[in-house]
């Protein structure tokens, strides 16, 4: 019994990580209808950025991530402004091709610079610290922080989207690109800001990715898959839905692993397929689309 309860709790916490992977993707799709095939690689890229900053400046990863935020915001802003804006249009193929290419470039670039060795973000005692909940169940501090961070990110993004002029511009542009321009919205700039924000979320995801497990330049595509599944399970256009999607995925994986460790990955994908079959628009689709 305790084992099952433990699996549920760990599943929810793991869902926090998947929600962080997915929220950046959800943001990009929600604002610019961009399907970013390089998303997983960008998370890995950000993890290396934190690694380098932490190493060079001798900082704890939790501090290094603060230094990484402005850098990755600018990288995201520039990437969108200079490259990705040119791919957006009525045709869905160009952004897919370009981000696919980007994925290959990032993976190989990282391999060149950092080799295929596994890396890890080191933060001392907190990595292994846990809080006992009694009854033989304990939760790790880092997994707990991961979930809390994903909730904080989503609360923050909802504040931006629903309570600021910038958020109004995001939603209006997403609704109707042409009329958005008639309102005086510089669409290229709005998209670049959205990508900058998405990169902040990517950086937070990268911090927990690197703290929880080893990473190397090739693990991006698998993170992309989890991120996609979380977004689709949750329903497009809703950040809370994305969190729910991440948790569904995390739960399915830990429950599957509880039944048989070999089933962990498979049961996540099966849960995804079941949701897709029963609710093709996801659990919490935006009412209007």
């Amino acid at each position: 019994m305790t084992g099952w309860l433990d699996a549920l709790i760990q599943g929810v916490l793991l869902g926090g990580l998947y929600a962080l992977f997915a929220t950046g993707l959800s943001l990009m799709f929600g604002v610019m209808r961009l399907v970013n095939l390089a998303h997983g690689d960008l998370i890995v890229l950000a993890a290396f950025a934190i690694l380098v900053l932490a190493g060079k400046l001798g900082l704890d990863p939790f501090v290094a991530v603060l230094a990484a935020f402005p850098i990755l915001f600018v990288v995201g802003f520039t990437l969108q402004r200079v490259l990705l804006n040119r791919t957006l249009g009525p045709d869905l193929l160009p952004p897919l091709l370009v981000t696919f290419g980007l994925s290959i470039i990032i993976q190989n670039g990282l391999l060149q610079i950092f080799s295929a060795d596994s890396q890890r973000l080191r933060s001392g005692a907190i990595e292994t610290a846990s809080i006992s909940l009694g009854g033989g169940i304990a939760v790790g501090v880092v997994p707990l922080l991961t979930l809390l961070s994903s909730i904080a990110v989503i609360v923050f993004l909802n504040l931006v989207f629903y309570h600021t002029p910038l958020g109004r511009a995001f939603r209006a542009t997403s609704d109707d690109l042409e009329v958005g321009q008639l309102m005086g919205i510089d669409v290229g700039r709005i998209f670049a800001i959205a990508m900058g924000l998405a990169f902040i979320v990517i950086t937070i995801a990268a911090l927990y990715l690197g703290l929880r497990a080893n990473f190397d330049p090739t693990i991006g595509p698998a993170r992309l898959l989890y991120a996609f599944e979380a977004v689709i399970i949750g329903g497009l256009g809703s950040f809370w839905g994305t969190l729910a999607g991440g948790i569904v995925l995390g739960l399915a994986q830990t429950i599957g692993a509880r039944i048989d460790p070999e089933w962990q990955i498979l049961s996540g994908h099966l849960a995804f397929l079941v949701v897709l079959a029963l609710r093709p628009r996801g659990l919490f689709p935006r009412a209007l689309d």
Partner: protein
């Protein structure tokens, strides 16, 4: 100097030419009606003015300044706003948010504010928190006009604002238009409803297959002239 002028304005959608050299002028405070059959190029004419369809710089002049090649996001800041055909409110924004986004990046000083738009269309204040798809057609049209006013335009372009509305609602909308004109705003009306257009306008331009077929003051034009300019003979 005319507030708005088009010179040999042409417009293309790919290889398809929609406008063939349109010359028009509009004085400050004037109301112009553009009439013509479906596909005559009326909406394209408005899109070319606001920058959604771009052409040579000097094909559209605002206060004598060439703006024909500028982006739509810049032109609204210079004081030209469009109420698009079919209203095209933002469905994921509330009524009030739709109005507020109309004032996004507003550069022009002027009379319009959220409060002024609400006093022009009190029903919008009641529905301020509603999602726009929940509004009636007339209310949606009011919200679309209010949204355009929030940028404090000197020139307001209205594309088919009476389309699909009940006569009593159309009367309300045109009554509001009189108040908008009273602020000194110049208005361009694109209308299918010729009678309505002729009543509201100081001057009329008739389009036919992308060309000007007739222009003049409503009282100087005969039914027969308009009929011929509208349908061709």
């Amino acid at each position: 100097m005319p507030v708005l002028e088009t010179r040999k304005l042409t417009a293309f959608y790919g290889d398809f030419q929609a406008l063939y050299g349109i010359d028009t002028t509009m004085d400050a405070g004037e109301t112009i009606a553009i009439i013509g059959a479906n596909g005559a190029g009326k909406s394209t004419f408005l899109k070319a003015i606001v920058g959604l369809v771009r052409g040579p710089a000097d094909s559209v002049l605002l206060d004598g300044r060439p703006i024909g090649s500028r982006a739509a996001a810049d032109i609204v800041k210079l004081g030209v706003a469009l109420v698009p055909e079919g209203r095209r409110l933002f469905p994921s924004l509330t009524v009030e948010e739709n109005l507020l986004i109309g004032g996004y990046g507003r550069k022009m000083p002027g009379p319009w504010s959220l409060g002024r738009v609400y006093s022009l269309f009190p029903v919008l204040k009641e529905r301020r928190s509603s999602a726009t798809p929940a509004l009636s057609g007339g209310q949606q049209q009011m919200a679309a006009i209010g949204r355009a006013l929030m940028s404090n335009p000197r020139v307001l372009l209205c594309d088919e604002i009476s389309l699909g509305l009940a006569p009593i609602v159309i009367a309300d909308i045109y009554a509001a238009l009189l108040q908008i004109k009273a602020e000194g705003t110049s208005v361009v009306l694109v209308e299918q409803d010729i009678v309505q257009a002729m009543k509201a306008a100081d001057r009329v331009y008739c389009f036919q297959e992308g060309r000007l077929s007739l222009s003049g003051r409503p009282q100087d034009l005969t039914r027969d002239q308009i009929h011929r300019a509208y349908f061709g003979t």
